[in-house]
Amino acid sequence: MVPESYYTALSAILFTIGVVGVLVRRNPLVIFMSIELMLNAANLALVAFGHRFGAADAQVLAFFVMTVAAAEVAVGLAIIVTIFRLRRRLSVDELSIMRW
């Protein structure tokens, strides 16, 4: 048996890598993939906790998160494609002048 705390620790690591990825990268697609990493880490934590409680609720919750992720991907990629039609380069910093 693997203790659930191992899973939650792993999920914390993955979540943090996702957060750092969002902050460090410039390409919107890579940022978006890092966000997927975060959602995935949250799902792993949910399922691990659910396993500890012996409840299947967590799996249902994780399933909802997956659905939301799918909806987000559809909308997000549509937005990114739209912007690419207008402009041939794609980087968050160039998107707009970050003025105060």
């Binding site: 949250a42 799902n43 949910l46 906790f49 909802f64 998160v65 939301v68 739209t82």
Partner: protein
């Protein structure tokens, strides 16, 4: 009607209208979609009336995942007012900007549905899904004008930062589930009352607050606000500033006040700091803006800071004055953006400060209207802004947060500078160029009239509405 469905009634009205508009969108006429706006507006007004009619009733549906209480109903009213004003302002604006398509109305209705659901949700997973429903629709609406780079950039920025916030939000839910074994708000509340202060729970709450911070745009999670407010179509900006903020505060208040009551000392300290930072950063940066939409964006950040004061103060007065202020802010901000959206210079919107020079000479009525909304944003009597701030700051003083109230008053004084600058431009500068706009449509004038009625009604007779707002938060404080 099945009694079990009554708590869902406002949701069903908005959702049903959305489905109706989807069907109507497929029918001719293909090139004119103004009638869809009328249908959408009728649905929202209907939801508003239903919410008012349900006032005082309580109920739950679907295993307590959706609740009907005065809190949800009060916010339904705020959200429906915001949606109705936005719809009134939209039709003509869309036509002028060549963006009249049925999807606009569908998405406005679907995001309204998400907002109404956020106010009524009593389970973290439902709050999460409602938040996503609202946000996804708004991401698209922000980029609704195709072929405009600024709009597309606004949409993408809003989307990426919103999705980032979603990640924090869902991880927070996961940790809270891990600490309590449930996502239902009442069961989490029971767990917090029974158990000790579990660090897992507090970190979970902290991550939830990051997610909420993005949605209500509090510092330091406000960086998307200026670009999105500037780039999005002005009608959508108005909706983001009013409706989505009201919905965010609705879920935030429900989670903090009823579920995490036990941890109040912890989150109060945190929110004290966030409130001060939010209003100060918002106001100071707003001074430097020459673009009116950008200025109002930072002003909206500052107003979030004021509203957080009410959350910090807590109790029926504090939370009630937040609700009251949300209503005030909805009328005022929707009105201010409404005037901006009616003005044009050449073929583009009049958004620069210079465009407003001498406006009083050309459009005396619009100039006066905008001046009144700006005065309400400053908080001048007898407008609603004064009453709203008076209650918020008063609640802070009553709860012993004297310094918070002092900082807030100083901030309001700073804010007066940049609002009055616009008024000075309108009334004291000479006309430059020929910024003429089209005559406002009937719907546009109606929207502005309703917003003006709102700020004077709430400014002159605030007490009854404040009583209602306090009655609305009562179910959370039990």
């Amino acid at each position: 009607m099945d009694a079990a469905l009554i708590p869902l009634l406002p949701l069903l009205v908005v959702g049903g209208t959305a489905l109706l508009v989807i069907v109507l969108d497929l029918l001719p006429p293909r090139d004119r979609k103004g009638h869809l706006g009328v249908v959408a507006l009728a649905g929202v007004v209907m939801a508003l009336l239903v919410s008012l009619g349900l006032w005082g009733r309580e109920g739950r549906a679907f295993r307590g995942m959706v609740v009907l209480d005065n809190f949800a109903l009060f916010l339904d009213v705020v959200i429906c007012y915001a949606a109705a004003l936005v719809l009134l302002l939209s039709t003509d604006y869309l036509r002028r900007n060549d963006g009249e398509r049925g999807e606009y109305y569908i998405l406005v209705l679907l995001s309204t549905l998400g907002m109404v659901l956020m106010a009524a949700a009593a389970d973290l997973i439902v709050i999460f899904l409602a938040l996503e429903l609202m946000s996804l629709s708004l991401y698209v609406l922000a980029g609704f004008f195709r072929g405009r780079l600024a709009a597309a950039e606004a949409s993408m920025k809003y989307f990426l930062l919103g999705a980032f916030a979603t990640g924090f939000f869902i991880y927070g839910i996961a940790l809270i589930y891990g600490a309590t074994g449930s996502t239902a708000l009442d069961r989490i509340a029971a767990a917090t009352r029974a158990g000790t202060r579990d660090p897992l729970l507090l970190v979970g709450l902290g991550l939830l607050l990051v997610g909420f911070g993005f949605k209500i745009s509090s510092v330091p999670f406000h960086m998307w606000v200026p670009d999105v407010y500037e780039g999005a179509p002005t009608s959508v900006t108005a909706f983001i500033a009013t409706g989505s903020k009201a919905a965010g505060f609705a879920a935030l208040l429900r989670v903090l006040l009823s579920t995490f009551k036990v941890s109040q000392p912890d989150w109060t300290v945190l929110l004290w700091v966030v409130a001060v930072l939010t209003m100060t950063v918002g106001n100071v940066v707003a001074i430097a803006q020459s673009n009116l939409k950008r200025m109002l964006a930072y002003s909206s950040v500052a107003h979030v800071g004021y509203m957080l004061i009410g959350v910090v103060a807590g109790g029926a007065l504090g939370a009630g004055s937040v609700l009251f202020y949300l209503l005030v802010y909805t009328f005022t901000t929707a009105g201010a953006f409404g005037v901006i959206l009616l003005l044009e210079r050449g073929r583009r919107e009049a958004v620069d400060l210079d465009d407003y020079a001498g406006l009083a000479g050309r459009h005396p009525v619009l100039a006066l209207t905008l001046a009144l909304f700006l005065l309400s944003l400053i908080g001048m009597p007898p407008t609603a802004g004064f009453a709203g701030k008076f209650y918020l700051f008063g609640a802070a003083v009553r709860s012993g947060y004297i310094w918070l109230a002092v900082i807030a008053v100083l901030n309001s004084a700073v804010a007066a500078y940049y609002y009055l600058r616009v008024v000075v431009y309108m009334y004291m500068r000479d006309t430059e160029g020929l910024p003429t706009g089209p005559a406002p449509s009937f719907a546009g004038r109606l929207a502005l009239a309703i917003a003006l009625w709102g700020i004077f009604q709430l400014g002159l007779l605030p007490a009854p509405v404040l009583d209602l707002a306090q009655a609305a938060v009562a179910p959370l404080l039990r």
